[in-house]
């Protein structure tokens, strides 16, 4: 939990060596409401930091998902495509979106830690 970093677009990143797992935050999932559709980037695709990397749709609206850091997509989570409600029930664990091979580790330092993000999320929802 503690090694997670967060972006202003409400994604989380969990880093292990050269690999990063990415998803949307609990706050984002709550704001979106019931998620009913997900589109993920293709395996092998190179995504750019803050570039569009997928789509989530709730009963209310469609929202873009951005890559919090740059890298090559090495794995995607098929289980959230089959069962998008997993993103609502466990957004920061089983509801992960995709894994990246990190291109530039220094990009991680530009992200927020949990405390900073919680404060940011609280302020942005007011």
């Amino acid at each position: 939990m503690s090694n997670k970093k967060f972006s202003k677009q409400h994604e989380w990143v969990s880093v292990e060596g050269d690999a990063a797992t990415i998803g949307i935050t609990k706050h984002a999932a709550e704001m979106l409401g019931d998620i009913v559709f997900v589109e993920l980037p293709k395996k092998g695709k190179n995504v750019e930091k803050e570039g569009q990397a997928g789509v989530v749709e709730s009963t209310k609206a469609a929202s873009d998902v951005y890559a919090p850091i740059s890298g090559e997509v090495v794995e995607t989570n098929q289980s959230i495509i089959d069962n998008p409600s997993k993103i609502n029930s466990d957004p920061e664990n089983e509801g992960w979106f995709f894994k990246l091979k990190i291109k530039d580790k220094s990009e991680i330092d530009t992200l927020m830690n949990k405390e900073e993000y919680d404060k940011f999320a609280k302020e942005s929802s007011n």
Binding site: G33, V36, F37, T59, N88
Partner: protein, 364 residues
């Protein structure tokens, strides 16, 4: 314009509602359980909707009034029975729809329920058409709540004796705490249900009573998924000033006498739509996969010809798949016709579907 609040605003807040601005009002879009849960509870149990933002108009008068109103509303107001309701529209010169509405014959004249976003304009249109001959009141002191779902009749009967005998699209006057309330058996969810017009000062008390008896509060989010599953139009999206009732596949709402005799605003266009060839028709659309096609999504034929546009689209919790409505060129409107949807630059397969997507029998 300052955002308005309904008399139930504080109560919604206490129930944990999330609010959105809608037609100038702060309205609950959902409660903590979420849209899908609220939707399913309405289909299996009973849900309470605050629709007090909608216009409640009373026009006082007798036979004279029916004759005048028939000139702007294409339904049968001459033979309508006391306490009977009809779904109809206010039409414009081009046969388009200014608003869709429910008109009920009441003792004093006619009571009309109007869309929130249209009500002030509707008032002007009606006032202009009727002149000063009739008293017209857009009620500010009345709330409107809808109780919808299979358990609603049983629950409401416990509180208001006699509602069980109401037939679908019929209403009557009842009393609650010594004040008059008017209840119709109607709604916009595809379920059996009631709409209750009640003074602002009593609405919270009454809503609380229903909630403590197991009714769940339902927001605008689920109201949208419910009405779309039921194939019902949302004004400003599926119908508007440029769509005729015939194109909108709402010919059933214009009774035979009115279709034949006309005598209402926009009849020339509506008659030619009925007798000639329609250029487009409102249809149901069912995407093949999980993709959701929302308003504005373009519709193509199999050979890549652009044939129409989606006007409403969402995920239908009871049918457990994405659903949509839109307009297509008439030749492509037959249910089962394969079409292509363009969502975010990519093409997806879909089919024209029968409406409604979800069927339930009303109590008649």
């Amino acid at each position: 314009m300052e955002t308005q609040k309904t008399a139930l605003y504080d109560y919604h807040k206490s129930l944990g509602a999330k609010f959105v601005p809608f037609a100038g009002y702060e309205m609950p879009v959902q409660y903590p359980s979420g849209i899908i849960e609220e939707h399913k509870l309405t289909r299996s149990n009973a849900g309470l909707f605050d629709v007090s933002h909608m216009g409640q108009l009373l026009i006082e008068g007798n036979e004279d009034l029916a004759i005048e109103l028939e000139k702007i509303i294409p339904t049968d107001l001459k033979t309508i029975k006391l306490n009977q309701s009809k779904y109809s529209f206010l039409t414009n010169e081009d046969g388009g729809i200014y608003d869709d509405l429910i008109v009920t014959k009441v003792k004093k004249g006619f009571s009309i329920i109007l869309n929130a976003a249209c009500k002030n304009n509707d008032f002007k249109i009606i006032k202009t058409a009727l002149g000063n001959k009739f008293m017209i009141t857009l009620h500010k002191n009345l709330s409107l709540i809808a109780l919808q779902g299979p358990k609603s009749s049983e629950i409401l009967e416990k509180n208001i004796n006699g509602v069980l005998s109401l037939k679908f699209m019929n209403g009557n006057k009842f009393t609650y705490k010594d004040e008059d309330i008017y209840i119709t058996r109607s709604g916009y969810t595809g379920e059996d249900g009631f709409e209750i017009s009640i003074p602002n000062n009593l609405v919270e008390d009454f809503a609380k009573k229903l909630i403590t008896q197991g009714v769940k509060p339902i927001g605008l989010g689920a109201r949208d998924t419910l009405r779309l599953e039921a194939g019902l139009c949302l004004y400003g999206h599926d119908i508007n000033e440029s769509t005729t009732p015939i194109e909108a596949n709402l010919k059933w709402a214009i009774p035979k006498r009115r279709r034949k005799e006309g005598g209402f605003v926009g009849y020339t266009k509506i008659r030619s739509d009925m007798n000639g060839r329609l250029t487009r028709l409102r249809v149901g659309v069912k995407p093949e996969g999980k993709i959701i096609a929302r308003e504005g999504v373009k519709i193509f034929s199999k050979d890549d010809q652009e044939i129409g546009l989606i006007t409403s689209g969402t995920f239908g919790p009871s049918v457990n798949s994405p659903i949509a409505m839109g307009y297509v060129k008439y030749d492509f409107s037959k249910p089962g016709t394969k079409i292509i949807l363009e969502v975010r630059g990519k093409k997806y397969g879909a089919k024209i579907s029968e409406l409604p997507f979800y069927k339930k029998s009303y109590v008649r």
